[in-house]
Each structure stands twice: as C-alpha cells, then as structure tokens.
C-alpha cells in the first residue's frame, strides 16, 4: 500500500480533482467550439455552406485516440484510489455497525454498544457491517466512504477521522419510510477520551427517555402515538387492550401486558397482530434498560380507559 496515503480522503480527493478538472476542460472546449461555429456559420453570416466535407479519417483517429488516453488515465487513478479504500491498515480498531429499519447501533470489541459511533481521531477504524433486515448503506461523506449493509453478507469499510469532531453518518440505500431519518453521528475524540468512554460502565444518566428511543430507533415510522393507523398498529390505547393475534398461523386473543409487549419487540414474528403484515424488524440489539424504557413508555401513553 502507498505509505503516503494516510486517510481515505487522501485516497479519493485527488481523483475527484483530476477527473472533474478534465471534465470541465472538455466541456468548455466542446461548448465553446459549438457556440463559435453556431455564431460564425449562422445563416446570416454564412448564407451558403462553404464545405461539403463529410468526414476526415485523421480527425476520427485523433478524437478516438485522445479520449481513449484520457479515460484510461481516469480509470487507472480511480482504481488506484479504490484499492486504498479496500486495503485496511493493520492496526485498525474494529467496530461493528448494525443497521435496521431505521436506526444504527455500534458495538465494540469489549461488547460495549452505543447509538453514537465513538472513534479515536487519527486511528484507522475497521467497520464490520451487519444488517438485520433490508439493505442499508453506511455512508460518511466527510471521509468519502460508503458500503452497502447487506443482510447475510460480510461487508466492511474503513476510515480515519483525521481530526476530532462530529461527523454525519447517513443511510445511503433506500430502506423505507424513515430512510432519510436513519442518521447517526460519528464522534471523533482523542485516544484518551475514547479509552475512558470505552471502559466506562453503563451509567444511569446515559438513559434515554422512551419517547426519544422510539424516535431514534425508527419505531415511529410504523407506529403512531396519536391513534392514527400506520404500517403498524398505534401505541395509543394499546396497553391493557385486547388484541387478536396470529400465533403460528392460529388466531388467538391476548391482553396487552408487559410480557406481550416485550415479546412483540424482541421477537416480532411470534405474534402477528391481525390485519397487519409481518414486516416489523427484529430488535436483537436492544439493551435491557432500553427495553424497559420502551415498555414503560408504551404503558404510560397507553392508559386504556374503559
């Protein structure tokens, strides 16, 4: 690998400059020549054509040869930059990014998980990409890296955050209703801060409220809180109500309680509410305290009044 390339930006940005530079040049040449001809040989200035030339073999060779050289150069630089994007430096820190409709979660070698992606600035990060449902795309524009997150496929991507700071992470592959809300933040901190964060035991004030969780986890893309019907049933008035569900294809009725809600979240396929499609994503990456928050919140707003 080229030792001069330190970051993924350095692998990609010069290629952009090279290709876009040539493109702008070509565009200017083509349109200027066209406009000059159109002006110069306009019928008002050139009432009759002054040539009947219908081809020139040398010109054809010339303008086949030059573009061929140019595009081959573009191909080569593009390929070289791409190789740098694929060659993961040896000392990279491994993080697993798990995508599902419509949220990200990140887990670290010591099994710590987080909704924000904390990384040490200046150190190469190798991201293993896991999807729990459909195809998503892991995209950090600031570092010029992107890779699809395909269910059942081992994909990875690497980058270096050159400086401390917050960077946006987008889902680049269309994945349904809340695709454009499937964002996360890459928090690049110093090595020291990172290690402190990594080894910090889950503290309680990191707790996110149930309402916020529903939002960040993308639940609200399918479930409403105000009683309107969506892709999934509304949470309003859910707690304590009687639901007709299909369990293994058999209809039965259940009273919505903590056990049922838990099961619905962790193993959505177990009971399918009648009249709905079995499309709710699995939530195996939720932490225990997050589940508690969710259940509590659904109970709170669900106060079923008879």
């Amino acid at each position: 690998m080229d030792p001069i390339i330190q970051t993924t930006n350095q692998a990609v940005d010069p290629v952009f400059k090279f290709i876009i530079g040539i493109c702008i040049l070509l565009f200017i040449v083509i349109s200027t020549v066209m406009l000059v001809f159109t002006f110069r040989y306009h019928r008002s200035r050139s009432p009759k054509p002054t040539s009947v030339a219908d081809g020139n073999i040398w010109l054809e060779i010339l303008w086949t040869f030059i573009p061929t050289l140019l595009v081959m150069a573009m191909f080569y630089y593009g390929w070289a930059g791409y190789l740098a994007l694929r060659n993961v430096p040896g000392n990279a820190l491994e993080v697993t990014a798990t995508a599902r409709m419509w949220s990200w979660s990140f887990s670290y070698p010591n099994a710590k998980t987080s909704r924000k992606m904390y990384v040490p600035a200046g150190r190469p990060i190798l991201v293993n990409l896991v999807s729990q449902d459909v195809i998503h795309g892991f995209y950090i524009p600031a570092f010029r890296v992107k890779r699809d997150v395909v269910p059942g496929m081992k994909n990875h991507v690497w980058f270096i955050a050159p400086q401390k700071g917050s960077y946006d992470l987008f889902c680049s592959v269309y994945c349904g209703t809340e695709h454009s809300k499937m964002l996360a933040t890459v928090e690049a901190v110093s090595e020291q801060e990172f290690n402190d964060w990594l080894n910090q035991v889950e503290s309680h004030h990191e707790k996110i409220s149930g309402r916020k969780l529903l939002e960040t986890l993308g639940c609200l893309g399918c479930h409403s809180l105000d009683g309107t019907a969506g892709v999934g049933p509304t949470f309003k008035g859910l707690w304590g109500s009687k639901q007709i569900v299909l369990t293994n294809g058999k209809e039965r009725s259940v009273i919505v309680d903590e056990e049922y809600v838990r099961r619905s979240i962790l193993d959505p396929k177990a009971d399918i509410v009648k009249g709905y499609q079995p499309i709710m994503p699995v939530n195996s990456d939720l932490r225990e305290n997050e589940i508690e928050e969710l259940v509590e919140f659904i109970q709170e707003i669900g106060g079923h009044s008879k």
Partner: protein, 541 residues
Amino acid sequence: MNSSNHPTLPLTSFWNDTGKCGVSAWVFSTDHKRIGLLYLYSVLISFLVAVLIGLLLKIELMAPGRTIMGPVTYNALFTVHGVLMIFLFIIPGFPGVFGNLVMPIQIGASDVAFPRLNLLSWWLYITGALTIVLSLFTGGGPPDTGWTFYVPFSVRTGTNVSLAVIGVFIVGFSSILTGINFVTTIHRLRADGMAWGRLPLFVWSIYATAWIQILATPVLGITLLLVVAERLLGTGLFDPSRGGDPIMFQHLFWIYSHPAVYIMILPGMGIVSEIFPVFARKPIFGYKMIAFSSLAIAGAGSLVWAHHMFTSGISDMAVLVFSFLTFVVAIPSAIKVFNWVSTLYKGSISLEAPMLFALSFIMLFSIGGLTGLVQGAAATNIHIHDTQFVVGHFHYVIFGGAGFAFFSAMHYWLPKFFGRTYSEKPAMISWGLMFAGFNLTYFPMIILGMKGMPRRYYDYLPEFAPLNLISTIGSWILAAGLAIMMINLFMGLLKGRPFGSNPWGGATLEWTTPSPPPTENFDEEPVVTHGPYDFNRAGVP
C-alpha cells in the same frame, strides 16, 4: 423557413383516405402512423403526470422538514415518478412514437413488417400501463420501492409491488415485440437503392435500439417475475437466510436496466444526427463513425451493468473489470459528440426550434456524460453513489439528453404528420425557459451529491437547504417552459398554418411525401439514388 410558396393541405392523407375516422378506426388501426400517434398521446400523458409528480417532489424538498406531504407519500411518489418516466415514457417513447411514425417512411416502406403485431405492442403497452395505474389504487397502495424494486425491501413492503411489477412485465413484452418488428422491417423492407450505407442515422439508431430491446428485456421480465414469486410464494431466492442472495437480484436487474439506458438515449442521438445536417445544410460529418458507434454502444453497453453496484460488496476484481468497461463505452459517445460539432463547421446554420433543442442536447448530454465519468471511476464512485449527484447526472442524460431530443423531434417531425405547424416565437421562448430552468433544477443536485446528500431523501440536514431551494425554483421555470412548449406545439399542430412537404429542406425520404402523408406513404415505390444527407443530389436548396 421558406413560407413564400404558401403550402396548402393535401385533400387526402392517412387521417381520412381510408374513410375510417372513428375511435375504433384508430385504436384498431394497423397503420404505423396512426399507431405512432396513439403512442404519442399515451406516452405524453404518462410524461405529464410524472412531471406533475416531479414538481410535487421538488416542492416537498424546498425546505427541510415536512412541507406538503409525509414520508410515506414522498416515497410512493418518487417511485411512481420513476416508473412512469422510465417504463411508460422514455423507453417506449422513441421506438413507439418516432420509430413508428418516421422509420418506415425513411426507409421507403409502406408500413412495418408486421403491422398487426405493431398494434398488439400498443395494446400491451396500454394494458401494462393500466395495470400499473391500477396498482396505485388497490392492495396496499402505490409501491414505495423506487423504480429499481430492490430486494429484500420490495419483498417485505406491504405496498402493491406485485401488481406494479406485473404491469412493467407486460410493458416489457410490448417493447420486445416492437424490437422484433423493427429489426425485421429494417432488414426486409428497405426501398430499392436504400443500401445500408444510405440508411438515415435515425434508422441506424432505432436498429441498434431494437436489438437491445430484443436481447435485454427478457432478463427484466424474468427478474420481475422472480420478485412476484418471492412475494407470493416465498421462494427465498433472494433471501440469504434461506440460501438466496439479494445481490443476485441487482445483477439481474441491471443486466437489463443498464442497456435500457441506451434504449433511452440512442434514438435521441439518432434524432440529433438527422437535425444537425438539415439545419446546417451540410452532410453529417463521419456518417460511418456515427452509425458504427451506435452499434458499439449497444454491444459494449451490455457489459457494464455492475457499475451500479460498486458499493454493494461485489468483488474488487468485478469492480476493476466493470469500471474499465464503463470507460470503454464512453469513447463511442465522445466520438459522436465530436462528429456532430464538426458538422456545423462551414455550414449555413439556421436556429429554429428543432435545432435549438438539438444544440442544447449536446451541452446537456455532455454534462450528463462527463458526470458519468466521475461515477465510472471506482474511487470517486464510492463517494457519490446513491447521492443527489446520481439524480442530477441521470436527469442530465435522460431528460437533458433524451428528453430534449424528443422535444426536438416533436418540433421537427410532428408537423409532417399533422400537416400544420406551430409558431416559432413561443417555441423559442419555451426553449429558453426550459434550458435555463433545467440547469437551475439539476445542477444544484450535482453539487448537493458532492456535499454528501443521499438520494431518495424525504428530509435533509439544514446545510443542504439553500441548494435545494434553488433547485425547486428552477423546477418551476422548467415547468413553465414545458407548459408553453406543449400548448404552442399542439395548438399549432391542430390549428396552425399549413406545413409544406419539405419546409426544413431535408434530404431523407419522409420529406418527399406530402404532409400529412397518405396511408400508403408513397404514391409510387421510391427508388433511392443518393445518401440521406446529400442535399445537392436531393435537389433541396
């Protein structure tokens, strides 16, 4: 152009010379001109509906957050916009409308080889189109997958994907039959003296297109049926937990859909190759190179499909090969552009509506093609893939390129078939508005993509707001231009001044027939004695 000879309408033409004029005499007609006009009306309806949807999308994107609709509606609308534009407007548009109207006359035939099959093609098109429309209002509502129908999302979503996909499947059959019909027609029905070297370049481009329609469309058909099977029967072909592979779907989809890009653009290139010589009064520069490059694009273009999948996880080897081949296909397109521009040299150029659209085709298509190079290179592709850059790029190619060529052809050829023509001034104004509005709409998207805004985004971060606002305002200017163009064109075609048999001074055979032509096209079988751009021997001034 030259209105001093006061043309008058011929007393009889294909509009009335068979004595049959009712609705059924049209929808069951086997005359290629009537079928061409049926296609014209049907693709234009799809186009206009899709434009309205596009404008709604742009209004939604005017500012961050909700503007006029929710995400569910937005996602359905961009899918319907894409499906209508691709499968019901631009793919069937060129072969169906101008392939039908013009190609048989240009080769000196009285109709296509299989007139009844031609009628069946239109009926299949209509059946497929109605199926797609039906899918919007039944079942789980309009599909929300994007026009690419990627699995596993398209298998999981509760919307009416199955019916929509069956509609596209039926339209695909229409396309295959048209392809077979046109290849046969061009091989078998050329007039005496119409050697291959004398074929108008538009016919060459329709010929290359027809081969793609025949060879690539079946792959799309099978792929879409597999999606239906996956949804209805749960076959698991694309489901990794059951040994399937979602990436395989993408290969199959693009094996058709990349060549389909050439179904969209090749005829447009053919049209420009007709218009440049006529309006510069000079033979086309490099006839053989242009004809050959159409075939080269059609052939090599079939081998580049995986450049849509560089980030998907395909092997690095595949990235190497497909990136290389993508750059190879760029070369014949460049050759065409240089030959068109050289045609202008030492000509005598008149800037009427068809020529203005054709000249702007060159500029917009160049931007589309050059941004394509940025995507063909592996390293840069990674950053801009699936961003607004791609949306900008393909609108430049299929709207700025193919679309503007379509408008050019409408101004150039439709008066021939209606016998009346539009007014020049509003045509120029509409062109100016469209050209300005177009760039204002789509150039900001290219920049937005460079800055990292993904595509198919209902909502976006505040930093992307200014460029999105500019783009939305641009879309209104574009729409105003489009509206003026359509109104001027159709008012003129129906009520305008009569259009003589050859007001543009073309040297191809369609200009030797009256406007509008009779059902049989030619009173006596034409004998071709000169090339398609040999204005001197054609005896036009």
